[in-house]
């Protein structure tokens, strides 16, 4: 194999690899979970509640219930409530023990830092939306999203207002505050074995217990989807550039010209190669003769 062919083979191997990697990156961006449209998410979040136990018993476990309305039965433990949020209203998170002995964190509602209603003593059956865990970056309470049991809303004031205040609960100052409902963090505080998800109860249930309804933000918006598709397109354009560069460099390498010429303007102190213009002038002089 001549050295030029070897160079060409090398150019093609590198070029094809880079191109394929970029195509793959583009596909990854295009298919990222965020690409599902908002409507699909809202439909999922507002379906009929299914028993959580069915999902827990299933193959995928609790993961198959993320983003679904579910129904759970259990008893609240004596673990102290947590207040989640970076500003008012704070979500009240309580530990509900399920039949299997593990804890499911339950967002019972939101409070403006008045005394928190106590948890009911007896066994309860709750419906609400199951979510995995909040993202790392805390955000202000959403004013648009799905109110569990009600549907998509952009007007929190249209939701059921809290009922009469139930006495006997804890004072907000006595409770631990966390930025966000992040399960890894809460597992350190509550220490009991915890399910990998948390429930946000129906708006009507929150109100009945004297708390404000909590809105669940719809996981990703059309804006996020457009951004991911934008990135995918960029990767594919770069993939095309990589292929074009491969073809061009291989072509140059085959002829020993252009960007693969043996001695070109490499920016050394030797300065540039003899400019084309002087050669052209010489040829014109010859023709004039």
């Amino acid at each position: 194999m001549s050295s030029r062919s070897r160079t060409q083979a090398l150019i093609w191997s590198i070029g094809l690899t880079v191109t394929l990697v970029m195509v793959a990156l583009g596909l990854w961006q295009a298919n990222a979970f965020q690409a599902s449209g908002r409507d699909a998410m809202v439909t999922r979040l507002t379906g009929e509640p299914e028993p959580l136990q069915d999902h827990l018993d299933g193959e995928k476990g609790i993961q198959s219930a993320y983003g679904l309305p579910v129904e759970v039965t259990g008893e609240y433990t004596d673990e102290p409530d947590l207040l989640a949020g970076i500003g008012e209203p704070y979500r009240v998170v309580s530990a509900l023990e399920l039949a299997d002995g593990q804890i499911l964190p339950v967002v019972r509602g939101a409070t403006q830092l008045e005394p928190i209603p106590p948890v009911p003593g007896e066994e309860v059956t709750l419906t609400g939306i199951l979510l995995p865990t909040d993202p790392d970056e805390p955000a202000p309470a959403p004013t648009a999203g799905v109110a569990p049991g009600v549907g998509y809303t952009e007007d929190p004031s249209s939701l059921p207002t809290p009922g009469p205040h139930v006495q006997g609960g804890a004072n907000p100052e006595d409770l631990t505050m966390i930025d966000n409902v992040r399960l890894p963090e809460m597992a350190q505080i509550w220490t009991r074995p915890m399910h990998a998800g948390y429930l946000t109860v129906d708006a009507s249930l929150a109100a009945k217990n004297g708390l404000n309804p909590v809105i669940v933000p719809v996981p990703d918006t059309a804006e996020g989807q457009a951004r991911n598709q934008g990135y995918a397109l960029q990767w594919w354009v770069f993939a095309i550039v990589a292929m074009a560069a491969t073809v061009k460099l291989s072509h140059d390498a085959g002829r020993g010209t252009g960007f693969m010429a043996p001695r070109t303007n490499a920016g050394t102190d030797n300065g540039p190669t003899e400019p084309k213009s002087s050669r052209t002038t010489e040829m014109e002089d010859q023709h004039d003769d």
Binding site: A139, R227, Q234, V237, V241, F259, M260, N265, G267, G271
Partner: protein, 133 residues
Amino acid sequence: MTEQQPSTEPTAANAQVEGVKKALMFYRVMAYIVGVLLVLLVLVGMPLKYLSPDPYLQQIGAGMNTYLGVGHGWLYAVLLLSAYLLGRRVQWSWKWLLAIALAGTVPILSFVAERKATQNVKQHIAHLESAER
């Protein structure tokens, strides 16, 4: 034959020098735009989003990253094009293009690369212009 003034005569040589100068200008403009965007992204947007304790500053950082990031991607592709068009005219080797492409991804380094590339091309232009006389 009449005496010809090299600088006003529309020879192939003059056209070539003009072409190089235009290509250089295009490349320099792109290099500066991409370089500034990258500095804003890496040295302002990212720290705001990931290191700021204030969540509203964090959201500003996230917004910056989204818009600057998307713009930077497309403009970087145009920078590569401008470098190719310039390199073609001044007989750069593939190593120069690779160096410019890589430097375009590192915040301050992209300005260093632009400096070196411009010096190199200006030398080339000087040679072209002196060879005409």
